[in-house]
Amino acid sequence: MLVFGDNMRGKTSLLNALRWVFYGKALGRHSREIALFDLVNSEATLEGDWSMEVVVTFEDDGHRYELRRTAAKRSLVSTPSRSEDLLVERSMRKDDIALGDHLIDAEINRFAPEQTSRFFLFDGELLDEYEQLLIDGSDQSKLIKEAIEQVLGVPNLIRGRDDAQTILKAAQKQQTADLQKIGGFESQAEKQRHYQAQIESIEKDIKGQGERLRKVNTDREELDDDLAKVEAFYQAKQKLDDAASTRDKSANRQDDLHQVRLGYVRDAWKEVLRPLLTLKREHIQDEYSKFTSQMLDRDKVETKIAQLQQAVRSETCHACGQPLHEKERIAASKELGKLQADLLGFKVDMTLFSQHSTDLQSLNKLLKPTDSRQIMLIDNEVNRLSVELTTLDNQIEELNELIKGQDTAEISRKRFMRDGLIKQAAHIAGEINSSQVKLIGHQRDLAVISKILEGLPTARAAKSSRLVNLAAALERVYGRSIDQLRDDLKTTVEMLASRAFRKLTTQSQYSGLRINGNYGLTILDERGQEVPIRSAGAEQIVALSLIDGLAHAGRSAGPVVMDTPFGRLDKKHRANILAYLPTTTTQLILFVHEGEVDKATDLVHLKSRVDSVYEIKEVNLRHSRIERVNQ
């Protein structure tokens, strides 16, 4: 049977209705029981209707059963405010004959014992818990291990061992009392009494620590639930804080840049004039160079004139010192006259030359580099920051809108509190471990004394000593039986889970599963080697294999109801499950959403295996209606 329903339409409520009619309880997150008061339709209660009823009819071993459970307001209560204000009644008819209330549990336990119900009334959201089994020593794995052993019958032996331990303790006390009456054993008796007192005290401590640990874990789980509901708001608040902090930094940076810019504006006038002043300097520099060149030329002419005048006057060559011939002296005189004429053409305005020199110095000073050019870079950065600030402002506005009305301070407080509880739980677990180490030590010391006494004829003769021996032997038998049963069960579960896994997996090279001490399963490859890494989908297949193995190790095949079992599985795995599970159950009811089973494609292949299809349809936010779908 397939029951389709989108999220929040009530698939899990249907599963809980089945659980409630059989066992009188419904489970919420972390497998915690939902209070009866919270199960009643809150909208109906507004109209004064506090009644609730679930009826289920089924067949087993050729008999037809009708099981009915009802809850209604107690007659003396006007408006119920707690679960105790409601009266729960149940009835069962077997082949149309009403059974007495005292026979109902016995009938249910024959075909659907509550201890194994988690494997046939199966909530897919709990698959993750089974994946924890592979993490040895985790708190979650310990709890699930206990739950598994509960359904497999190990607790019966554990209770037997506990009873034997209780008898042993009582016998040891009596032995101590008896020894005190026998001369020469006072000191042994005193030691025995000391260890017994210590053991009692430590056991009391462990009990108290266990209760504290349970309380802390329950508180933490409640906080986890609360926090899960507001996680999106918390994330939004974190983002908001980050955005506000980034915004502050950007705004401060912008302010800083603004101040720096104001400083640079002071000398900006020089930068505005720099191109013109640079041109001016080039112009003056050219003029100045011309002056310099002219002055050099005049110097050369003047030098040459002086040399020629000297040569004409002394009639001697100024270069070689040889006497000048008449022809050469005339030529020198001619050149002298020409140069003297040229010299008259050189007119250097020394006042202007000096002015150019002063102007160049002033311009060089004016054109010294300033930091004002950086205004452009600052303006670019300020613009970039402005865009960033606008984006952040928009983001902040959106986030503020999102968390409007949420007490984010309270969320933060709860997160801190949850973290504190996690630390506290770890601390208490440490205390328990250390108490247990002490306990084992004292138990050994006590056993040593008992062993010594066993060898003494006078003590051995005492009735209490014989009882101690008997109880100790009984405890050992139970202890070994527990180990033996666990080993046998693990082998059986491993074999059954491996069989299921080979049918469910899409990887043909996987040969099976190996079980660990916690009932966690590891995939084995074709060589029997453990596969260390596996996907989320493979995790789910392994968990489903374990569920199947446990279901068959604990009871014979029967109907199985599964709620949202295909969460992370691909098409091939889904097909394998849909093909395999009907072969190991007498009836399979799956509560699925369309993301898990596609009505258009998957149903066509399943047609021969599906007897009926239902759909949970939304009437309004709080109302759903189940309708049969024509195939």
Partner: protein, 130 residues
């Protein structure tokens, strides 16, 4: 221009500004674009010089703005004006105040009382010269 020429001109000890330009500079400072109004005054002079403007007389409605010794303590502003303008016997700071008034009005016209885009003043001059 020679030192002798400079010495003959009677120089101002205070520079003036039209009331309108004064209001513009006051607003620019209030808006946070200027640390001091004198920074805007110098920018006005530089802008007018860079555009090759020959400024007219100051409007009748004007006021003393600031002491020359505060406006141009190192004399660099006067030097820049002398380098770029033939003052023909005019006092450099008398000319400077007319340049400043024109330049401040031009800034008001360009930026309409908004962001004082100093970078654009610098790049415009550079483009013009190149």
């Amino acid at each position: 221009m020679s030192d002798a020429t400079i010495a003959t001109v009677s120089e101002r000890t205070q520079v003036r500004l039209s009331n309108k330009s004064h209001a513009t500079l006051t607003q620019m400072k209030e808006d946070g674009y200027l640390a001091e109004m004198t920074d805007g005054y110098r920018l006005g002079i530089a802008l007018a010089l860079s555009m090759g403007i020959t400024p007219g007389e100051l409007p009748a409605e004007n006021r003393n703005f600031i002491a020359v010794s505060t406006l141009d303590p190192t004399g660099e502003l006067a030097t820049a004006i002398r380098m770029l303008v033939n003052l023909e016997g005019q006092g450099v700071y008398g000319y400077a105040e007319r340049l400043a008034d024109w330049g401040i009005k031009e800034m008001q016209e360009r930026f309409k009382g908004g962001f004082l885009d100093v970078a654009s003043l610098m790049s415009n001059t550079a483009e013009k010269v190149s």
